[in-house]
Structure formats: structure tokens, C-alpha cells
Amino acid sequence: GGDDSATETNEQNVAAGQSQSEQKIIVKDAVIPAENPAASPETAIKRGDTVVVGLQEPGGVFTPYFNTSGYDGNVQSVMFEPLVDINEKGEAVAGLAEKWDIAEDGLVYTFTLREGLKFDDGTPLTADDIEFTLTLLHDPAYAGSTDITEASIVGGLDYKNGDATNISGIKVIDERTIEITTDKVSARTLRLLGGSVLKKDYYGNGYVKGNLDYLTALHQKPIGAGPYRFVTYLPGQEIRYEANEHYYGGAPKAKGFIYKTTVGDAQQFFQTGELDYSALAANQDNFEFLQALGFADINIYTSSAYGYMTFNHEKEVFKDPKVRQAFILGLDRQTIISTYYQGFAQVANVPVSPTSWAYTADVGSTAYDPEKAKALLEEAGWTLGTGDIREKDGKKLTVYYFTTAGGLGDTLIPIAKENYKEIGIDLQVEQMDFNALLARVDKGDHDLASFSTTMLPDPYNGVEGFHTKSTNSTFKGYGTEEIDQLIDATIATNDIEGRKAAFHELYKALEENPPVIYMAYTKVLSGANARIEGFEPNGYRGIASSLRNLRLAE
């Protein structure tokens, strides 16, 4: 039902374009169909039923769980479908698994596969394959980034660290059914268990516990069970797929799919028709650009990630929540966000995106209130000293802010400097590349540092770092027992309503004792060439879930 809202949003956009001074206007998520599909460039039309989408150069590891680059994940998602998928609200929906049951006690998971599932080589996909996949992830030699032990499968650690030859908690009931027993209730387990499935007699061919080296030979010869089948990989150029006739939903109508390597701005490629789909930086310029093309179906959706500026909680200054609150209130986030995103983002108030079921607008403030900030600082003992910089115990309130170059920073820095100066804070800025930023934050050199989360499949992912047990160094030094309990409560049940309440309670607590300055929920602006129908990107899975529906427009 995107069509109604589209016209509405369209007007909003025009309005946004006209009066930039009116800052509160926020573009709504919308699908705006192309005005002139006939304008599609010939390059694209000539390509027929092959769809081309831009992607940054992947690492070339196309075996799920083994990739180190997120782009490899995109490559995999075309040919591997998870057991449990996520919808645009962040809710779990059926993937390869037709359904799943979680026992009353929340510890036993029973997955039932769809009927007649096949890998793209035509061989059947069975519960054995799932067992193999989970076992492999427990292998002591496994060097990928998935930490399956968080699922707490019974016997998992014995396999990983001990002599066990199999994992006792995994039980194959029949070809289509598998039962997994865990020893801890966690709302996260479902996603951990419900990932992609590796074909046992392919990826497991020759498997010996403790040695996974043989797998590297298979990284570029994936066999999956997704809508498309891998054809070829031309490093630096493209990855080609063909429709998978063994896919349970039937082969997609668009017979070919290509991920083309693009770096940075892909506007020109979309414009010349070399790409059929492209996500662009969300801003008014690019929106107008897409509109002007005429042949672009525009889709604006909100990412599941959120941006934030973290405090270094180990520093004495930030031990006092009042100071942190002052930093939040003293920063004109609204101006920053609307100047930079031109309406294509909104100021964040809680650590979860508004697309999520866990979101609430009732908690947290987005206000800019320098007076209150000043008052809070005074209360915290930071009084104005020489040069209009606050001091306490002879120490000046000079804070070092680390951020990456480009992007929001260029807008944020000047404004933040001014804002903080006004309330008596001296903000020193250092830019560096992302990795350096991470390393230095890890060392605790910073006072403030900017980050953005990755896509957050579960709202828990948005808060887990705040836990004192979390080893995420970004939030080192933060947290209280009370907050820990509140965080734990959010995964202590599998019931969505229960979790929602738990999250809202947590968010309130976080407001009192802010771990970070929430910055923005950004939109993603994507254009699809109108000759192709079926792109329905969302903030959780991008285009992955909609690939099966790709077809040529009539």
C-alpha cells in the first residue's frame, strides 16, 4: 500500500525543498513510482531480464559464516536464504523453515523445513545440513565472526573445547525437522540458530574436527538454496547469478542477477543504465536527481541502524550523568541533522530505529536546551572559568572528540563546536579513519566519539553494548547493575509484547543515565529502474528478501 503515502510524501519533499529554514520537516518512508519509465536508458533496456545492482568490492568469501566483509554477506544473501528471515518491522518470519516452535521453557527450538527444499544443485536440503552447519560453527578451528556459543546449545562447548564428537543438544528428528536444546533463555537464540544452511555433503565433505582449511577451496564455489544460483565471480567487476529453478518459491522471473562492483557514488551508473538499482546517500539533492531521471522508482526507507556519539565513561568528567545530559541538551542535533540530511533523517531518541517494533517516541528528548545544559553543568560543579571555558578543580572542560572524516562530521563539527562553546565547553576535534577511530577508542584516548551501528536485526543489538558484561570497548566504564538487569530482561523472553515493555523500561532508565548522545535515524534513498519490478528494500535485509520477486515490467 505504498502508493497512497507516496503522493503525500512527494508533496512533503517539495515543501522540504522550498523552505529549508523550516527544520522539522522529515521525509516519510515512501515508494514513489517513476514518472516516465520510458526514459530508461538503452543500456538498461538492452540487458533484458538481467538485473544489475551495485555493490562494493566483496572479499570473495562466499561461504556464509566465513566472510569477513559485509559485502560478501550481500553476495551470499542472493543465494543463501536463512531458516528464519526478518520482515521490514524487524520481526522474524519464515525463511527456509516453514515454522518453528519454542518450548514453554524457552529452551528447546524445533524447526520445520519447508517441503521439498533443494539446494541449487538440485539435491535435497535436510535437517542433517542444519546439524552440520551448527556443528561446523562450533569447530575449534572456525575463525569466522559468528559466535554460536551465545546460543548456548547444550553440549556446544563440549564440542568446541572438549573431546565431544557431536553436539548433544542438536537432534535431527526427521528430514524436515530438527530439535535444538539450549540451556539459556535468550531472545537472540532464534536468529543465531536460524541462519543460512550449508550443504553437508559439500561443505562437510572431508570435514575433520579441528581443521577447516579445506573450506577455502570452496569459498568461491558456493552452493545455496536461495532464489539465485552463483555463476561466476570476476574480481573487481561483477558477480553473476542465474535464477535458481530449485528455489522453493520457484525461479525468479528475472533470469539473471548481477552484483556489479561500484565504489562510492554510483549515481552515474544508475543514470546511464548500467545499474538497475542503487541506494544513494539520502538527501534532497539525490532525491531530486532521481526524480529528474524519470525512470526511477524511488524508495525511501528507514535504516534499522542509528548513529550516536559515545562518551568515554572511564573519564572522570562523564561519571556524572548530569554532565552527560548537559552534553546532550547542549548540542543542537536538530540543526545538525536537518542541515546535513535535509529531512532525510530524524534525530534519534532511543537506541533503536523507528522501524522497529521496540521503538517508542515517548521516551527521550531531542530538544536543544543550552540553558538547561548550563544549569546542569553548574550543578555538576563545572563553573565558568577564564576564556569562557568551564572549570572544575582547576581542570578545564576541554573534551576531545574523535570522528571519521567526511560525511556528517563536516557539518556536525562546526555546529557542535559553536554549541559547546556557548555552554562553556571547549571541543577539540580529531578526524581519523574508521579503524584508527576504533583502535583509539579502544585505548580510551577519546572523550567523545562518533559511531553508527550496523543494521540491527534485533533491538537487543542496539543496547547489548551498554551491559557491564559487554566487552564492547566503546562503552567501557558505563553501566549499573540496574541497567544490566533491564538489558537482560529484554531477551529473557521470546514474547514480543513482553520484550517491548522491557525495552521501553530500559530506554527510560537510559534517559536518566545516558550512555551516548543519540544522533540520527537515517533514511536510505534508493532508486530502481522502472523496467524492473519487485524491489522492496527494507531497513533490515536491504533488497535480499525481495530478490525472489524481481521481474521485468510489462
Binding site: 536527481f289 572524516a405 563536516d410 555546529i415 579513519d433 584508527a436
Partner: protein, 296 residues
């Protein structure tokens, strides 16, 4: 006697020849202008201390803002002037440094040969094995870790640019020197028993000045631009400070290119004109010291 004394001074002779060259005077005039523009100009701007103005972003040039405003509503003209301070210092500084370091090491290496040459050239080899950009990247990252204050960092970056830059010029100079050393006039200096210093600076140096001038002019432009590359990686000038390079860089989309030329044309033109006037100046200097040039 007066007059003769005058004409005898080599420098006066060069200066006279230089002043006869209209193009190089234009170059000089523009350089002086751009310096005044950058260092004194901001004093006359009403926008120097004005910060971000979100109500006024991306305005086309107008009576209030002669060169329009940027993405944060700042006056482009004022920013251009302030950016000039940094870019000019970086460009000229890097030029002087690289020409001096490269020139001196090249001359020494080509002149003394033997062990000195081996040492300098092997160091050059090693330095040249480190590709420029990442090396700067690394060094700048380290600098930041060492908490060097941000406002000084750009000058250290400048220093690094020339540290990375010297082996190239040094090798060029060295090969010229090797060739020159074989010329008979160098044998003549040997016969006269001239001091090495004189051989180096009076005999060899003038013969490589044209090379140094070219390399110097090229390095000004190079440095101004690579400064922005550093900014691109967040290692150069930190916002809200500006440099010409990063002013262009921040207008980095096709849309800005098309719709908002006032964002990139002024800094682009400034770099261009600076580089070209330095070149004119260099050409004038080259001709002034070139005994063969006698255009009337």
C-alpha cells in the same frame, strides 16, 4: 663608476632581466595579491567570525555573499580567503622544503659519489619503496595518536610531504649532476682547486636551477592538492578550518558540480592561478639566470 658597479652585480643583472619580463611580473603581482587576499582580506569581511547559518545554505552568489554560501551557510569568499592562508603556506612550504632537501641531497650525492652517494641513494630507495599516500596516512595517524595539536598538524603534514617528496627530486638532480660533473668545466674547477662549496653552489647549482624551478612549481600545486587528499582521509585541515583543496573536495558530487559552481570554481581557480603564477615567476627566474636568453 657608479653605473659600472651597478651593472656588475649579478643579482642586479638578474633582477633587471627579471623585471623586463612582463609575464613574470604578472605572476609576481598575482602572488602578492593572493597573499594579501588571504592574510589581510579576512579583516575586511563581515563574515569572519560568523559560523554556520543553516537558514542560508547553498546560496548562489549575491550582493551579501559575493561568492555565495556553502553547505553550512558560510560565506564562500571569506572561507576562500581563510583557506588561502593554509593552502599557500602548505604549498609554498612544501615547495621550499622539497626543493631544498631534494636539491641538496641530490647535489651532494651526485657530486661526492662513492659512499655518500650510496648512502643517500639507498635511503632514497628505501623511502621510495613506501608509497606516498599510505605513508602519509600512517604517519598522520601516528601523529594523531601522539596528540599533536590539530592546528600544528597541517604543518607537520607539510613537512611529511617534503620528506616523502625528496627522493624523486634528489634522483633527478643527482643524475644531472653526474652528467655535469663529467663536463670539462668541472674539471676546470678541479684545476683551480676550488672549494667543494663553490663547486656545488656556484658551478653545479646554477645548472640545475631550471630543474629545481620546474620541480618546485609542480610541487606547489601537488602539495596544495595532496593536502586536500589528506583532509579526505581526515588527516589534513580539520573542519571548520578550510583549505582550497578541501573546499573543492567537499563539493564532491556531480550535483554540486552542475548546480553549485560557486562551491568549487573559486577554490579551483585559486589553486590554478596560484600555480600558474608561480610558474610564470619560475619561468621569469629561469630566463633571468639563463645566459642564453636575451629577448629584447
Amino acid at each position: 663608476m657608479e653605473i659600472k658597479q651597478k651593472s656588475s652585480s649579478l643579482w642586479r643583472q638578474i633582477a633587471r632581466r627579471f623585471l623586463q619580463n612582463k609575464m613574470s611580473l604578472i605572476g609576481l603581482a598575482f602572488l602578492i595579491f593572493i597573499f594579501l587576499f588571504s592574510f589581510i582580506g579576512p579583516l575586511f569581511s563581515p563574515y569572519v567570525n560568523l559560523g554556520v547559518d543553516p537558514t542560508n545554505i547553498n546560496q548562489a552568489p549575491s550582493a551579501q555573499h559575493w561568492l555565495g554560501t556553502d553547505k553550512l551557510g558560510r560565506d564562500v569568499l571569506t572561507r576562500l580567503m581563510l583557506a588561502g592562508r593554509i593552502s599557500l603556506l602548505v604549498g609554498l612550504g612544501a615547495m621550499v622544503m622539497s626543493v631544498v632537501i631534494g636539491g641538496v641531497l641530490g647535489i651532494i650525492s651526485g657530486f661526492y659519489r662513492g659512499i655518500v652517494d650510496q648512502i643517500i641513494m639507498r635511503i632514497a630507495d628505501v623511502l621510495m619503496t613506501l608509497p606516498g599516500l599510505p605513508l602519509l596516512f600512517i604517519m598522520a595517524a601516528i601523529l594523531s595518536e601522539w596528540k599533536v595539536p590539530t592546528e600544528y598538524r597541517i604543518y607537520i603534514v607539510m613537512l611529511m610531504l617534503s620528506i616523502v617528496g625528496w627522493p624523486g627530486l634528489a634522483r633527478l638532480v643527482r643524475s644531472q649532476i653526474l652528467s655535469l660533473s663529467e663536463r670539462q668545466f668541472m674539471q676546470a674547477t678541479e684545476a683551480l682547486g676550488l672549494r667543494d662549496g663553490r663547486k656545488l653552489f656556484k658551478h653545479l647549482l646554477p645548472n640545475i636551477v631550471p630543474l629545481l624551478i620546474v620541480s618546485g612549481t609542480l610541487s606547489v600545486g601537488g602539495a596544495i592538492l595532496s593536502e586536500s587528499t589528506l583532509s579526505f582521509f581526515g588527516l589534513g585541515v580539520v573542519p571548520p578550518d578550510a583549505s582550497w583543496g578541501n573546499m573543492i573536495t567537499s563539493a564532491n558530487s556531480l550535483i554540486d558540480f552542475q548546480k553549485r559552481p560557486w562551491l568549487w570554481v573559486p577554490p579551483g581557480l585559486s589553486i590554478f592561478l596560484t600555480v600558474i603564477s608561480i610558474n610564470l615567476l619560475g619561468d621569469g627566474l629561469r630566463d633571468a639566470i639563463d645566459p642564453n636568453m636575451k629577448r629584447r
